[in-house]
C-alpha cells in the first residue's frame, strides 16, 4: 500500500492547491488511482500523455495530475482530443468524461469519435446523475429514479454507454466499476495500449446526489451494490437472462482490429503527394 501511495504521489501535481473538489467517498478518486497505476504499468513517460477532461466532477480530474492536461468545455473533450492526436500522433491521448458529458451534451462527438476510430482512449465515469450541478437526471439515470429534475420519477430510458460505443464502431469497449479497482487498472491499461478508439465505462456512484435522493445509502452501500450487481463477462456467459436481471457485465466487452484513422490518413497524404508531383 505504501508503494501504491508513492506511485500516486509521483504523478500528482503538488503545486496545485489541494485538497481536491470531490466529496468523501467519491469514486473519482479510485478512478484517478486506477488511471495512474495503469499509466505507470504501460511504461509511458508523463510527457507522452495528454489528458483531456470535460466538465463536471470527473472533469476536475485532469488538473491534479502531471501530464499535458486540458480541462475542455462541456461535452467537447473528445473534439479537443481529436485535434491533439491528429496534430501530434505520438502523444497518447486519454479522455475523461462523465455520463452526461459523454452521452448527452457530447453524445454526437462520442458516437462520431467511435465511428472515426482515431487512436484515443475514452474513460466515461457513469454515476447515473449530474452531480456537480446538484443531482439532475442524466441519459443514464434509470427509469423511475428520482433526481432534482425528476421528482416524480424519471420517465426516460437509459443509455447503455458500452453498447452505444460498440455499435458506433469503437475498436475496444470495456466496463468496470470503482469497486473492482484492480480490474479497472487492467482495463484502462489495455485501453491505452489498444490501437484504435477504446472506451472504458466506469460504473461509479454519487451517494451525495443520487444515493441520497433514491435512499440507496452512502458510499459504502453503493459500492456494495456494485460488488453485488457486477458479473464478470466469463461468468455472465453461463447465466440466463433471468439470472442477469438487474445485473451488468464487467470486463472487455468488445476487442477487434479495425482500420485506425491516423493510419488511413497516411494513405491520403501519399495519394495527395503523388497527385501534386504529377506535371500539370
Amino acid at each position: 500500500m505504501a508503494e501504491d501511495t508513492k506511485l500516486v504521489y509521483k504523478y500528482l501535481r503538488h503545486d496545485k492547491k489541494f485538497p481536491h473538489v470531490w466529496c468523501p467517498g467519491c469514486g473519482n478518486g479510485i478512478l484517478l488511482g486506477a488511471l495512474i497505476r495503469a499509466i505507470d504499468r504501460t511504461g509511458l513517460e508523463k510527457d507522452e500523455i495528454a489528458l483531456v477532461s470535460g466538465i463536471g466532477c470527473s472533469g476536475r480530474l485532469s488538473v491534479y495530475v502531471d501530464f499535458n492536461t486540458v480541462h475542455a468545455t462541456h461535452g467537447r473533450a473528445l473534439t479537443f482530443a481529436t485535434g491533439i492526436k491528429l496534430a501530434k500522433p505520438k502523444l497518447h491521448v486519454i479522455v475523461i468524461m462523465g455520463d452526461g458529458d459523454a452521452t448527452s451534451i457530447g453524445g454526437n462527438h462520442f458516437i462520431h469519435a467511435a465511428r472515426r476510430n482515431l487512436n484515443l482512449t475514452a474513460i466515461v465515469v457513469n454515476n447515473n446523475i449530474y452531480g456537480m450541478t446538484g443531482g439532475q437526471y442524466s441519459p443514464t439515470t434509470p427509469y423511475g429514479a428520482l433526481s432534482t429534475t425528476s421528482l416524480y420519477g424519471n420517465i426516460e430510458q437509459a443509455f447503455s454507454i458500452a453498447e452505444l460505443a460498440g455499435m458506433a464502431g469503437a475498436s475496444m469497449v470495456a466496463r468496470g466499476t470503482v469497486y473492482h479497482a484492480s480490474l479497472l487498472d487492467e482495463l484502462i491499461e489495455k485501453a491505452i495500449l489498444k490501437r484504435g478508439f477504446s472506451v472504458v465505462e466506469v460504473i461509479s456512484h454519487c451517494h451525495t446526489q443520487y444515493g441520497r435522493k433514491n435512499k440507496l445509502g452512502g458510499a459504502v452501500e453503493m459500492l456494495r451494490w456494485q460488488k453485488d450487481s457486477a458479473v464478470r463477462l466469463e461468468k455472465a456467459r453461463s447465466l440466463s437472462q433471468e439470472e442477469m436481471e438487474g445485473k451488468f457485465t464487467i470486463g472487455v466487452l468488445v476487442d477487434r482490429d479495425l482500420p485506425v484513422y491516423t493510419q488511413e490518413y497516411r494513405k491520403v497524404r501519399e495519394a495527395a503527394k503523388k497527385m501534386m508531383a504529377r506535371p500539370s
Binding site: V70, T79, T82, L86, K88, L91
Partner: protein, 380 residues
C-alpha cells in the same frame, strides 16, 4: 513589368485565396463542417493539406471543428476552421475557450444573410457584432475584414501572424461576394511573406510559468509533448494555469488578456485610407461594400466633391486611433453596410459629436451599388 520576384499570377475565388494564404502562413491543420458559402474552403483544404504533411478533418459539426482546432494548436500546429453564420454561432462556446486559454487559431466566417438559416446563398455583413461579442463574458478578440481576392490571401497571412503573436483567436470576416468572386491575384514567393510563430519557452521546464504576467502581456506558449507539462482550462486561472476564484488572481488575469491587445493597438489596427488628406466627406466601409464605396468616392472626386474613403481592415478592436482624427476633420460621414447598422453604431459611439454620421443599410441579400453610395455622398 514582370520580374523574377513578381510571384505567381493565378485566377482564384476568395475562398481559395484564403486557403492559399493560410498555407503560406504555415497552417497545417483544418477542421470544418460543410456550410454555404464557406464550403470551398473545406474542399480546397482537404485537397491541399495532405500534400504538405498537414491534416484535414471533416468533423461532425462546427462545435467539434472548433474544439479540434484548439486541440491541434495546443499540440503546436497552426490551425484554422471556416464557416458561415449558423456554424459560427455553434463555434462561440469553444471560441471563448480559445480566448481565455489563449490558444492561437484562425476562424473564417463567410457571412451570409441571417438571422437563423436566413439567406444562405446571398451576401450580408450581419455578423460584425457576433464576431465581437458572440461568446459569453468579457473577452478581447481580433476581427479582420476582407474585400478582395488579394485580401483573402494577404489578410489571412496577417490573421495567422496576429494570432500567433498575441496568442488569441483571430476571426476573418469574409462575405458571400468576396468568397465567390474570381479574380486574378498575385501569390508572392514564400520568401516575400512575413510569417510569425508563437514565442515558445526557452527556460528549463521547472521555471516555466504558462500564464505569466509579463510586460508584453503574452506569455510564451509550449506545445504538448515538449517537456513543459501544464494545465489548460476554460476556468479563470492563475499564472500557472490552475483554476482560481481569488479576486486578486482573477483581476490581473483579465487585465492582462485585455492589455495584450490594447497595448498593441498600433500593430493590430489596419485602415486603408484613400483621398482622406483633404476630404470633407468620408465613407467608412469594409468587406465587399468597400469596393462599391471606392468607386463612388473616385466618381465624387471627379465631380469635384472632396470625398475620402476609410476602408476598415481591422473591425475589432475598433481602430479608434486612426478613425478619431478622420472624424474630427470631415463635415459628414457615410457608413454603408449590409446590415441594420452594426458598425455605424460603433462609429457613432466613438464620434461624440465630432461630425455627422449617416447610414446606408441593406439587408435584402444584394450588394450596395456604387451609384447608391455616390447619390448619398454628393448630398452629405
Amino acid at each position: 513589368m514582370a520580374t523574377k520576384n513578381a510571384g505567381r499570377q493565378v485566377l482564384l475565388q476568395g475562398n481559395e485565396a484564403i486557403v492559399e494564404g493560410a498555407l503560406a502562413a504555415g497552417c497545417r491543420f483544418f477542421a470544418g463542417y460543410p456550410i454555404t458559402p464557406a464550403t470551398e474552403i473545406s474542399e480546397a483544404m482537404s485537397y491541399r493539406l495532405p500534400g504538405v504533411d498537414g491534416t484535414f478533418i471533416q468533423m461532425e459539426d462546427e462545435i467539434a471543428s472548433m474544439g479540434a482546432v484548439i486541440g491541434a494548436s495546443l499540440a503546436g500546429v497552426k490551425a484554422m476552421t471556416a464557416t458561415s453564420g449558423p456554424g459560427f454561432s455553434l463555434m462561440q462556446e469553444n471560441l471563448g475557450f480559445a480566448c481565455v486559454a489563449e490558444v492561437p487559431c484562425v476562424i473564417v466566417d463567410v457571412m451570409r444573410g441571417g438571422p437563423s438559416t436566413g439567406i444562405p446563398t446571398h451576401v450580408s455583413q450581419g455578423d460584425v457584432m457576433q464576431a465581437r461579442w458572440g461568446t459569453h463574458g468579457d473577452h478581447p478578440i481580433i476581427v479582420l475584414a476582407v474585400s478582395t481576392t488579394q485580401d483573402c490571401f494577404s489578410i489571412t497571412v496577417k490573421a495567422f501572424n496576429l494570432s500567433e503573436k498575441y496568442r488569441t483567436p483571430v476571426i476573418i470576416l469574409a462575405d458571400e461576394v468576396v468568397a465567390h468572386t474570381r479574380e486574378k491575384i498575385r501569390l508572392p514567393h514564400p520568401g516575400e511573406i512575413e510569417v510569425l510563430d508563437r514565442i515558445r519557452p526557452n527556460m528549463p521546464p521547472d521555471w516555466y510559468i504558462p500564464y505569466e504576467n509579463n510586460s508584453r502581456g503574452v506569455p510564451p506558449m509550449s506545445s504538448f509533448g515538449e517537456g513543459y507539462r501544464y494545465h489548460v482550462t476554460g476556468l479563470i486561472h492563475d499564472v500557472r494555469g490552475f483554476p482560481t476564484e481569488r479576486p486578486d488572481e482573477i483581476v490581473p488575469f483579465m487585465n492582462r488578456i485585455f492589455r495584450k491587445i490594447n497595448q498593441h493597438f498600433a500593430d493590430i489596427q489596419m485602415v486603408h485610407e484613400e483621398s482622406t488628406e483633404d476630404a470633407e466627406v468620408l465613407v467608412v466601409a469594409y468587406g465587399s461594400v468597400s469596393r462599391s464605396a471606392r468607386r463612388a468616392v473616385r466618381e465624387a472626386r471627379q465631380r469635384g466633391v472632396k470625398a475620402g474613403l476609410a476602408q476598415l481592415i481591422t473591425l475589432w478592436p475598433f481602430p479608434r486611433q486612426t478613425m478619431e482624427p478622420l472624424l474630427r476633420k470631415v463635415r459628414a460621414v457615410l457608413v454603408p453596410e449590409l446590415n441594420m447598422g452594426q458598425m455605424s453604431r460603433e462609429i457613432k459611439r466613438i464620434n461624440q459629436g465630432m461630425t455627422r454620421i449617416e447610414t446606408l443599410n441593406r439587408i435584402d441579400g444584394t450588394l450596395i451599388t456604387p451609384a447608391e453610395i455616390f447619390a448619398r455622398l454628393v448630398k452629405l
